[in-house]
Symmetry: C2
Subunit: 145 residues, 2 copies
DNA sequence: TTTGGATAAATGTATATACATATATTGTAT
DNA sequence: ATACAATATATGTATATACATTTATCCAAA
């Protein structure tokens, strides 16, 4: 991988500093890649993440609160993401019977259909991201050598 | 490090998949941390990054274009970030003499003053982020073991 | 039972990303 | 010299983050 060459910084104040720059750079690359793949299906990464959570527990609905807890980024605003998925008919939304403050959210057939196409694409891209062997992937950070 | 425990995913489809999740998680943690530190000085991470670039070449001004190229995230909208830094009087902004399409941006004394306080805080946090030795930092990804 | 605190979700604001488009200026080819 | 492509920046839109606040509902203590 030529990732490290791309990082403009010529020297690093410490190994920890170098590691941080490397992680942030690699994560940015992964995120950019994922967002392009999601985009082909009219989704954002966060919408994709939420759909995956809902698929895991399908057909049991999740509350907005539980979605917030399970989202990779805890501070993401789940209710607005639900709103957008609902607009695309990828999730259903209804006030909970047992607690009328809560909203039950479930993935729809349409949502499952999109995941069925998109998930393999994302997974495949994970493998194609670099040419490290599995062993190297486990032990090393991209470009960190 | 107990980072890996925090990752909700129980199993991973491959080592590459696990690596990707780990990098994204760690980067999220770093970003969150940095943003809190910047916030204490009324800055965002992107504003901090731009100020650092401007400091490097101070007192030579940078065009918005060159800032875009040097920013860690290339697609960030440099002119709007310049605008906000300008509003806080941390940079100066003037149409370039030699090319009236370009805008020369330079860090002000006030901007340098903030960096003088903030940079050591960020750098120190890099070291405190985890308890890996420098050797481990070079060879391993946080929580990846 | 009523009151008050806790909780769930929604909403508001500032900033940022990602991308498309607009505007002004420069340079180049005819 | 003029027209047109290229360039530099700015602006517009949808979505997201980060955080504060609001609203509705639930629960528990007086």
């Amino acid at each position: 991988m030529e990732l490290e060459k791309e990082i403009k910084q010529a020297y690093f104040k410490s190994e920890h500093h170098k590691l941080a720059v490397n992680i942030l750079y690699t994560a940015g690359w992964l995120t950019y890649n994922d967002s392009r793949l999601c985009r082909d299906f009219g989704l954002t990464i966060q919408q994709y993440n939420m759909l995956k959570i809902l698929k895991t527990q399908h057909p049991v609905p999740a509350t907005v609160n539980s979605l917030t807890e399970q989202m990779p980024d805890k501070t993401s605003n789940a209710s607005r993401i639900v709103e957008r998925l609902y607009a695309k008919e990828l999730v259903s939304r209804s006030v909970s019977e047992r607690d009328r403050r809560s909203v039950d959210v479930a993935i729809t057939g349409k949502g499952l259909g999109i995941l069925e196409q998109l998930e393999p694409v994302i997974d495949r891209s994970r493998e194609e991201l670099h040419t490290l062997s599995s062993q190297e992937a486990r032990e090393n950070l991209l470009g960190q050598r």
